[in-house]
């Protein structure tokens, strides 16, 4: 008996081995070297080499010098995630409950933008938000923008670009969740004295929470690391941490700063995600 148990244990480990190996190769080793690089003595160069002095100060310097792009990345991503959640929820809800036989067509339309490249999609937003584009004209007409006001190159443009580009990441998990909801439960809530609004918040919303959680994570995490939108739709005032990491790692030749910033971003997002999952209480929902 004990013997077969041990055999079973061994088989399990053997079965896990390939996954562990892949994980080690593609995650642990790069991660390890990232940690190492973030502790190099500053002032090294490719030519002179980089000395390992466990220079934790890299982190302090990185935060001091680049807190603004760091903050931008988080704030833009959070704002875009919120917009995606509101728009995506309405969209997913409509597709799941109200679209009838158009359901599959609408779903395809949601992911249709993915058939073109990310860059091309974002570039087209440059035109849409351009100073003489119709959106700016309309906003100016409505006095939401001053006569020399603009959208392109502002925080707003970056957030809109992110929201647009990541919307499908929100809609699909939301749809999967909402579509699964038994319509009769919503009827039951009506039968039990909930008007449609209360019914939504007491039944539909909690039942769609798994979709909300995975949708917000799938949107927030990549959006926080994205720098294409900030570069193409923003200005020099909207730099995000992705731009800085890229620049520091290549042109500037500061692998220590780039690595420290990457670590900060990674750990920061990880902590936020954990807190969020904890708060949403979805361990049992998922």
């Amino acid at each position: 008996m004990a013997d077969t148990d041990r055999r079973k244990g061994l088989t399990a480990y053997l079965l896990m081995a390939p996954a562990v190996l892949v994980l080690a190769l593609f995650f642990v080793i790069p991660f390890y070297s990232l940690v190492a690089a973030s502790l190099y003595e500053p002032g090294g160069s490719d030519k002179e080499g980089w000395e390992m002095t466990y220079h934790v100060g890299n982190y302090v310097d990185a935060v001091q010098d680049y807190w603004e792009p760091l903050w931008h990345a988080i704030a833009y991503s959070a704002a875009a995630t919120l917009i995606c959640l509101v728009l995506g929820y309405v969209l997913a809800y409509a597709i799941a409950f109200k679209s009838g036989r158009w359901k599959s067509l609408l779903l395809v339309l949601v992911i249709a933008p993915f058939f073109t490249s990310f860059l091309v999609r974002t570039l087209s937003w440059q035109l849409i938000l351009a100073d003489d584009g119709w959106i700016v004209d309309t906003f100016q007409f409505l006095h939401l923008l001053g006569d020399d006001g603009r959208l392109l190159g502002t925080h707003f443009a970056v957030v809109m670009g992110l929201a647009y580009n990541f919307l499908p990441f929100m809609v699909l998990p939301l749809f999967a969740s909402i579509d699964k909801i038994d319509h009769r439960l919503i009827e039951a809530s009506g039968d039990l004295y909930s008007n449609p609004v209360v019914g939504f918040f007491k039944v539909t919303w909690p039942l769609s929470l798994p979709g909300v959680v995975s949708g917000t994570l799938l949107t927030f995490i990549p959006a926080a690391g994205d720098y294409i939108n900030a570069e193409l739709l923003g200005s020099t005032e909207t730099n995000v941490i992705g731009n800085v990491i890229q620049l520091q790692a290549t042109d500037a030749g500061h692998p220590n700063t780039a690595a420290a910033l990457s670590m900060i971003l990674m750990v920061g997002i990880l902590v936020m995600v954990l807190v969020y999952i904890r708060k949403a209480g979805t361990e049992e929902l998922l």
Binding site: I29, P30, Y32, S33, L34, A36, A37, L39, Y40, E41, G44, S45, D46, K47, E48, G49, W50, E51, M52, Y54, D65, Y66, E68, P69, L123, Q126, L127, A130, D131, D132, R150, L152, G153, E231, G234, S235, T236, E237, N239, N243, V244, I245, Q246, L247, Q248, A249, T250, D251, A252, G253, H254, P255, A258, A259, S262
Partner: protein, 375 residues
């Protein structure tokens, strides 16, 4: 990101490791030249930098016909720093990068030569280079005798504006201060290009400046940026935005502007009052290239005036070859007169060449530059 891939390879030296200084390769980076038995040549170049390769009468096809060398032409250089990051680990480990010729901009060429990553050319095998290189490109401090490099094409950095939308922008000072341009201009993200102009603006000589002058120039850049005068630092795609009216003016490379003018004649290139930066992208043979002789044949071929003219007629950058202007008369006389392809002495006298930096300076200036543009 490219950098992480590189870091992970180094991680094999566990535990917590540093990275050693670069050592010259013990064998001098020399590989056995098999040019005579293998008639091959592998080149890495930027996009849009050669006349159509499929054309039977094109320069590349003619080269292959004439020499029997078969050319593998890769367009995998998008950015100097990025290309550097791509080959850095193999280069420092004294391993071949499987290319016989790479084409990089002056400052990166200087850096790689300084790192001993480039093989010297056999002077006897490139007589056309030594005979025909235009004078203004001769005598670079980092390779005065053309031992390591041969300019492929050169360019001028100046100003472009959309004449449909704004009045002429005559100087760099205007570009960074005129109110009607505010928030609708870009500067180039290459440090040498943009800082050259800022050095000029603060009264320094980009070809020879002090640390204090550098700091003044950087302060001026910071100020312009903090004023919200800039839309972005751009490296590509800026002319498309200029043409669409998303931008009204920008710092620009001459060849890009000429090409864009075919689609939109409203785009104008200006030689600013401060002058122009003259730079080149240079052919070099990296360490452990196995077809150096073939690469030299290629260089010599492209330094024939009629070949250079044919190439220049298509690429629209500045042709570095003496005599190509005369040859151009037969292809397209209007291009022969275009000073953005064949600059006259007036124009050339108004150009500068960015100060040659050693590796330490390069790193310091690049770092400070990156701090300003990314914060």
């Amino acid at each position: 990101m490219v950098a992480f891939g590189g870091l992970s390879a180094a991680a094999l030296k566990l535990p917590m490791f540093g990275i050693d200084a670069i050592q010259a390769c013990a064998d001098g980076g020399i590989a056995k030249d098999v040019s005579s038995s293998e008639r091959d040549l592998i080149i890495s170049n930027w996009t849009g930098y050669i006349d159509p390769r499929k054309n039977k009468n094109g320069t590349l096809a003619q080269f292959e016909d004439e020499t029997g060398i078969s050319v593998t032409y890769n367009v995998d250089v998008n950015d100097n720093a990025e290309f550097y990051a791509k080959v850095r680990n193999q280069m420092r480990a004294c391993e071949p990068i499987d290319r016989d010729m790479i084409i990089l901009t002056d400052w990166m060429a200087a850096r790689m030569i300084g790192l001993d990553w480039i093989q010297p050319l056999d002077k006897k095998k490139v007589p056309n280079l030594h005979a025909n290189l235009i004078e203004s490109l001769q005598g670079k401090a980092w390779d005065p005798d053309l031992v390591y490099h041969a300019p492929w094409q050169s360019g001028l950095t100046g100003i472009a504006y959309n004449a449909d939308l704004v009045d002429e922008v005559g100087s760099f000072e205007e570009l960074i201060s005129r109110d009607d341009l505010k928030g609708k201009i870009t500067l180039l993200s290459e440090m040498n290009d943009t800082m050259g102009f800022f050095l000029k603006v603060v009264g320094a000589d980009p070809g020879d400046f002090s640390d204090t002058e550098w700091e003044n120039a950087l302060d001026r850049l910071k100020q312009v940026k903090d004023d919200g005068h800039l839309r972005q630092f751009a490296g590509n795609n800026y002319l498309q935005q200029l043409s669409q009216g998303v931008l009204v003016a920008c710092e620009a490379w001459s060849g890009d502007v000429i090409q864009a003018q075919y689609d939109n004649p409203n785009l104008k290139f200006v030689a600013p009052e401060e002058g122009l930066a003259l730079w080149s992208d240079n052919m070099m043979v990296p360490n452990y290239a196995t077809h150096q002789t073939n690469a030299e044949a290629w260089i010599d071929y492209y330094y024939r005036p009629e070949v250079a003219a044919k190439l220049a007629a298509w690429v629209n950058y500045i042709c570095p070859v003496q005599g190509a202007q005369e040859a151009m008369l037969e292809i397209d006389p209007s291009l022969a007169e275009n000073t953005l392809i064949f600059p006259d002495s007036d124009m050339l006298s108004n150009t500068w060449d960015f100060m040659s930096l050693d590796d330490e300076q390069q790193q310091k200036y690049e770092g400070e530059w990156a701090d300003v543009i990314s914060s």
